[in-house]
Amino acid sequence: MKLFYHLKLDAILLPVIAILICIGGWALVAGHSKITKSVDDFGDTVTKTERFGLSKNLPSPAETWIASQPYIVEPFAKRGELDQGILRFAWLSLKLVAQGYAIALLFGTPIGFFLGLSKNFTRAFDPIIQILRPVSPLAWLPLGMVLFSGLKVMDAAGRTTFGTSDAAALFTIAICAMWPTVLNTAVGVRAVPQDYLNVAKVLKLSKAKTLFKILIPSALPYMFTGFRLSLGIAWLVIVAVEMLIGKPGVGGFLWQQYNANSYAHIILSILTIGIIGYILDRFMSLIEGRFRSA
């Protein structure tokens, strides 16, 4: 037992046990196929596949693994627009998220600063923010489509490189992901200790110098908390957006495979989304921790 803890086996073993239990539960609930072969009246062999189980259409873990293999073994393959390796899909989704997220930070951070610095600005805009904040991405997307209807950027060959649905997607990601950045930045700016502001006052630092030497460094840990939460939301929104506009990506793939009755790929997509979301969060936490300790 001592050795067990000494090697930190519990940190590996316990999650593994939990994962196994979940897979076991999944296997219990999932259906399984039964293939019956019979000879019909004309003498031909007929194979009939029937599914049984608690939830008979839910693929079992083994079925999921077999169906997902081509997507996992060749993660960057491109067999068609909506038939690509899972990491290639993930990469497409991440690219879109990165763009939308960048827009969210670009707008969210200054808005947060204004909220943190001015009581009147807060009084004026807080109700609007509180009303817009809980609106679902599913509601924003149609508005984005209307807002950017008719937008078309074409390349030399006449293909649309950036159209209404792309703009609407970015709009939706940005507006949904912005709020944690806005609110946390505002909190961070309000939490700048009066002592630091006194230093600025005594030294008669200019507005710009106060911003860059005092306000931003002091609010940075809070801002990064906001950035991390915003990234989480951006990743959450991307799936919904891709499902609605049918863009190739993890979310688009998921919806298309549902429509194609390949249910195993839904589970593959969900796991991919979860794992990438987790990696993104860990990555942002690392950066956040670095700023917190500095």
Partner: protein, 291 residues
């Protein structure tokens, strides 16, 4: 002490905050003149408004009544012509000690060359004894070392006045004594007019030319002023051995214990200074008034 024109004149300085029950007056009609190079200490009970006075002089708290003339010019806002050392050193934790000092130096000596500014910051950091640690971050410095940076930062601005807000209040007794010497040495070299706020009676006597005792708030004002007779440069042992030391000590303690609630502006006759003795109480034991 000196007959030169005062560097700082405080005339009926008043601070009040609006409140539900009319204006809450913290400090009322605080009048005091500072001769050039004079070291004045404000002493009083906690919460009496002595820090408010210093904050007004620093320009960090708005003056609601009366006025302040610094070097012949009326002032009511903060500026680098008054170097402030705060109780907590207020160093920016994302900058090294050197960068913290440079922040002010760059601001005040923007015409000097980069090299000159660097030398200035390094000089003051070395004088306060941080020659070897100037590129450390505040988080890696002890409380006392941080306060040394705070002192270096204030002096490096070469201000007209030095304002010290309980600068040694958070330090242990030994570090406190060490830093008092550092401060006195720098003060002697720069001949800066200084206002310090403290509640440590011994510190006030050892450092000051005059100790100004404040009455209890609200509506705090100057209650009594004690001239400290020791010549400079002072040595702690000599000062402590001087029989006049206990007289000063007792005078201050008597004021704080018995007379701080009496406002001289309300009564016509001021009590005779320096006569009250309280032999029944062991005064050595309560040299620092906490609380």
């Amino acid at each position: 002490m000196t007959t030169r024109a005062p560097v700082l004149e405080l005339f009926k300085l008043t601070k009040s905050y609006p409140s539900a029950k009319g204006a809450a007056v913290i400090v009322k009609d605080f009048t005091l003149n500072f001769a050039a190079g004079e070291f004045i200490t404000l002493i009083g009970h906690s919460g009496c408004g002595k820090s408010t006075v210093l904050s007004m002089v620093a320009g960090l708290t708005e003056i609601t009544g009366g006025g302040m003339i610094l070097a012949g010019r009326e002032t009511n806002e903060a500026g680098p012509d008054r170097g402030v050392v705060f109780q907590s050193p207020c160093l920016l934790p994302w900058m090294t000690a050197f960068e913290n000092v440079m922040l002010g130096v760059n601001q005040v000596y923007f015409t000097a060359s980069k090299e000159e500014r660097r030398e200035l910051a390094e000089y003051y950091l070395t004088v306060v004894g941080l020659g070897g640690a100037m590129h450390k971050f505040p988080g890696d410095l002890s409380q006392g070392m941080r306060q040394r940076v705070g002192i270096a930062r204030a002096f490096a601005l070469q201000p007209k006045m030095l304002l010290l807000d309980e600068p040694f209040g958070m330090l242990d007794a030994l570090t406190k004594m060490e830093l008092q010497e550092v401060l006195l040495e720098l003060w002697r070299r720069n001949k800066l007019t200084t206002l310090m706020v403290t509640h440590d009676v011994d510190e006030a006597i050892f450092l000051s030319d005059r100790v100004v005792m404040m009455t209890d708030g609200p509506e705090a004002e100057v209650g009594d002023i004690l001239e400290i007779p020791f010549e400079r440069p002072r040595h702690r042992a000599t000062v402590l051995a001087d029989p006049r030391y206990m007289q000063c000590h007792n005078h201050l303690l008597t004021f704080l214990n018995e007379r701080s609630h009496i406002r001289p502006s309300r009564i016509q006759t001021t009590p005779p200074a320096g006569t009250a003795q309280r032999s029944e109480i062991d005064i050595h034991g309560i040299s620092e008034l906490a609380g």
